[in-house]
């Protein structure tokens, strides 16, 4: 399989132009997320791993730019040295796919629009992303957005790139709004709540004035009690006051334990990296987004469908679920459960043959699917960029 590894944007454009004759490309960065999406039918790979490096970092302006193949870890360590971070909390999801998580690239984080537990407070990758450079399927270099956080000049192609899985353009450079890292954090942990009580507790916390930045529920299994987690972040004195006020506000749900500082941060890293699902190496994994109050009902429906393990994040609005990798990996019952509540489900991990046969991404209503095909046409008429990765024919 030919493997193109250009080291500048012009060569990326040249590779894409050649691909219109030579055949479509699979786009990769650190090659850690090749198991996400539908398998592409491509004979050649375009790797951005040599398009690497931070191109701009202005801590006082809360902005950082990097070439798309830059390891996420490099951005995070650079920002940490400046006392800042990517607010959307990008996870590695090491448990799901093969490959060295240290190589996960920032371009792939954007292409998959990933976000961790802080999604409920700070948005997803698309909300922090303020500028992109890309090569479209005609091999043209296109720029959109910029390095300033307020910008309504022309259409927002930045948002369109986030979550397009490389099917509209090969990202070559991305720019983010960043935020100061808080001095410390605290997590309240309520024990033994049912899913319905837990989501009520999370909703009450998220509707309170104390700025909850993490809200997850981990149902107990194998004898361990269920845990309901709410995180606060800020200055030390704020955390003491807010944790007390929040605990008093949620007293109907019990008396919480409190984790502070690094112990709290470690706990949320586990949540973001799906530790509560246990070992999923032999299982299929779904990421399900619904209205938070529907979380418990959707979870109950999943269990009836034979889903063995799950937990709730985003205040109940995100369900991570693991099941046997057989048939369509329960796509039918999962999507039926969502039909009654609203939301969507993505098959994040499953063997190639299942992902090739099942709809990995949520089926779209007919008029939206029609727009989706035409948007693909507008960027990549010859279908050379990650064809079929999201939807058949796209």
């Amino acid at each position: 399989m030919p493997d193109f590894r250009p080291d500048d944007e012009a060569s990326v454009a040249e590779t894409v132009r050649a691909a219109r004759i030579d055949g479509p490309l699979e786009i990769t960065g650190g090659a850690t997320k090749r198991g996400l999406g539908r398998p592409t039918q491509t004979a050649a790979t375009l790797s951005l791993d040599r398009l690497s490096g931070i191109t701009l970092y202005e801590p006082a302006e809360l902005v950082i730019s990097a070439k798309a193949g830059t390891p996420l870890a490099e951005l995070e360590s650079t920002l940490a040295a400046g006392g800042q971070r990517l607010a959307f909390d990008p996870p590695r999801l090491t448990a799901l796919w093969e490959g060295d998580p240290a190589r996960a690239s920032i371009g792939a984080v954007v292409a998959a629009n990933l976000a961790g537990p802080r999604r409920i407070h700070a948005g997803a990758a698309r909300d922090s992303l303020i500028g992109v450079r890309l090569v479209n399927g005609r091999g043209e270099i296109v720029k959109n957005g910029g390095r300033v956080m307020k910008n309504v000049t022309g259409y927002d192609l930045v948002k369109l790139m986030a979550g397009a899985f490389g099917t509209l353009g090969v990202l070559t450079e991305v720019t983010f709004k960043v935020l100061p890292s808080p001095e410390t954090e605290a997590t309240l942990i309520f024990s033994g709540l049912s899913e319905a009580d837990a989501v009520a507790c999370l909703s009450a916390g998220l509707g309170s004035p104390w700025e909850v930045t993490g809200a997850a529920h981990l149902p107990g299994w194998a004898g361990s009690p269920a845990e309901t987690l709410l995180r606060l972040e800020g200055f030390e004195a704020q955390m003491t006051y807010r944790a007390g006020a929040l605990a008093a506000h949620l007293v109907a749900h019990g008396v919480p334990d409190v984790l502070r500082g690094e112990a709290s941060a470690a706990r949320w890293r586990e949540v973001g990296e799906l530790a509560p699902l246990g070992d999923v190496s032999a299982l299929a994994v779904w990421k399900i987004s619904t209205r938070p109050a529907s979380g418990p009902s959707v979870a109950a429906a999943l269990r009836r469908a034979g889903v063995s393990r799950l937990f709730l994040d985003w205040g109940g609005g995100l369900i991570w679920a693991a099941c046997e990798p057989a048939g369509d990996a329960q796509a039918g019952p999962i999507r039926a459960a969502l039909a009654a509540h609203g939301g969507h489900a993505t098959l994040m991990k499953a063997p190639d043959e299942i992902r090739a046969a099942a709809e990995v991404f949520h089926p779209l209503p007919t008029p939206v699917m029609e727009l989706t095909r035409k948007i693909k046409d507008a960027f990549d008429p010859a279908r050379v960029l990650n064809p079929g990765r999201m939807y058949a024919g796209v």
């Binding site: 202005e58 910029g146 704020q238």
Partner: protein, 482 residues
């Protein structure tokens, strides 16, 4: 009158006016169809009053279904459509064309659903921004994007322009607070994007639609995130002897890990004009002023203000005034929020809306002063300092055609300067008609072609809000014909 050219109206459409008006009346009723010249005049301009054009007709639908039937009808008839909320656009985004029908959404102003457990509200597009916050205020919630026009501007217009406001440093702009949309495409197709959950499946069409200036579809309903109100908020006011010192204060505050909800900047002329109007107690002997607001419990506010005041003194603040009471806080904000009105009392002005990297602020202010002096015009600067969104107010006499032309040229030079230093042409007002012909300062033809290809996906005949956003030359064939 102005240097921005408009395409010539299509005589064939003008000739069919009576038939088009009949078609609209058949859908929304005669009462909600406006064809009378005097009544049409109310729709001839938006808040950018330098540009005026009476439309062919106006339709005021009451439901998504009516909007769908109107667009399907006008699409078949090949008639251009301009969507309109409250008409508060400062970039001429809702300016009609002589051969266009204005579809006004002011009647669609209801709250459809309110859900504090899921922290969402679903509203019709014609509801005002402030009415959304008022609908949830008694429950302890608010809707975060707060444009200065929030009393009048509508959610549909906010989506079209991706509106923000003073508090978006912390809370983001419309696109960060929007979960779902009902959109009518030009052929009448109704699509639902997103919902009450996070992250729509498929391409982020919701994100693309936001800020597309009514060119891809007409928004009829929106699901918005509502946020719990902080326990309290309090501003502090700083005066500095130079804009460099004020800029250093902003940078150092953010570097210490403090994220205020708002950081507003005013230069000496702006301070003077606002103080004369609002008597807010602003210092008149400084070159630059910052208003910094923080949130939390009373103790948290005091703690944060203490940190910020320390930073400000280190960076050269010569005047510090903390609001100790609600009345003092209100006075500080009254001066800032009445700035545009106060300015209007002393002079006509053109409000620019460029964005710059904040590190370039002192240099940019110096160069803006030089540009304006070169045209013989005055300028006052008001600025969202946390996010680099400049609002130079270029002062001129609207009754003097020569001064209007100078003000336009001066404004264009300022916006080109913003792009030159790494910023952009518009941070929150939109491109509209005002900055249409400046787009090439920021984008090359390939960039514009890619954006225009999307316009053609949603609206193949380029009937929705045409002659806006993109320069008239260099458009694809059907658009040039428009």
């Amino acid at each position: 009158m102005s240097s921005v050219a408009q395409p010539a109206p299509d005589p064939a459409i003008l000739e069919r006016r009576a038939e088009i008006v009949r078609g609209l009346a058949a859908i929304v009723g005669e009462r909600w169809t406006i064809a009378d010249e005097d009544e049409l005049r109310a729709y001839e301009t938006d808040a950018l009053t330098a540009y005026r054009q009476v439309p062919l007709a106006v339709a005021l639908p009451a439901t998504t279904d009516e909007v769908s039937r109107i667009l399907a009808f006008l699409n078949r008839a090949g008639v251009k459509v301009v969507g309109r909320g409250a008409g508060t656009s400062l970039a001429g985004g809702a300016l009609p064309l002589a051969d266009s029908v204005v579809v006004g959404l002011s009647r669609m102003n209801r709250v459809l659903a309110l859900d504090t457990a899921n922290r969402t509200i679903r509203v019709e597009a014609g509801i005002t921004n402030l009415a959304v916050s008022q609908a949830v205020d008694h429950l302890g919630f608010f809707y975060a994007p707060d444009p200065s026009s929030q009393l009048a501007c509508t959610i549909g217009g906010n989506v079209g322009m991706n509106s923000g406001g003073a508090h978006c440093l912390k809370y983001g702009v419309t696109t960060n607070n929007l979960l779902g949309l009902t959109v009518v495409l030009m052929d009448g197709t109704v699509i639902e994007l997103g919902g009450e959950h996070l992250d729509s499946p498929g391409y982020d069409i919701l994100g693309l639609m936001t800020g597309s200036e009514g060119q891809l579809g007409l928004v009829t309903e929106a699901t918005l995130r509502i946020l719990p109100k902080a326990e309290g908020a309090r501003p502090v006011l700083f005066g500095f002897n130079s804009s460099e010192d004020a800029g250093a204060c902003v940078a150092a505050t953010l570097a210490r890990g403090i994220l205020p909800v708002a950081i507003e900047f005013m230069d000496r002329p702006a301070i003077r004009i606002c103080e004369e109007f609002a008597h807010a107690g602003y210092p008149l002997d400084v070159e630059a002023m910052l208003i910094v607001e923080v949130e939390g419990s009373p103790e948290e506010i005091s703690d944060q203000l203490e940190r910020i005041v320390a930073v400000a003194r280190e960076t050269g603040a010569v005047h510090v005034r903390e609001a100790r009471t609600a009345a003092e806080a209100a006075a500080i904000w009254k001066g800032r929020k009445s700035a545009f009105g106060a300015m209007g009392r002393i002079s006509d002005y053109m409000c620019m809306d460029g964005t710059i990297p904040t590190g370039r602020l002192p240099e940019v202010l110096t160069r803006i002063a030089a540009i304006c002096a070169g045209y013989g015009l005055g300028v006052a600067n008001i600025f969202h300092a946390g996010d680099g969104n400049l609002h130079p107010l270029v002062l001129y006499d609207v009754n003097d055609p020569e001064q209007l032309a100078k003000a336009e040229a001066c404004g264009a030079d300022i916006l080109r300067l913003c792009v030159e230093v790494g910023g952009c042409l518009t941070g929150e007002h939109g491109v509209g008609i005002e900055k249409r012909d400046l787009m090439r300062a920021q984008f090359d033809q390939v960039d514009l072609d890619q954006q225009m290809a999307l316009k053609s996906v949603f609206d193949p005949a380029w009937l929705l809000n045409p002659a806006k956003v993109f320069p008239l030359d260099g458009r694809p064939a059907p658009a040039r014909a428009a």
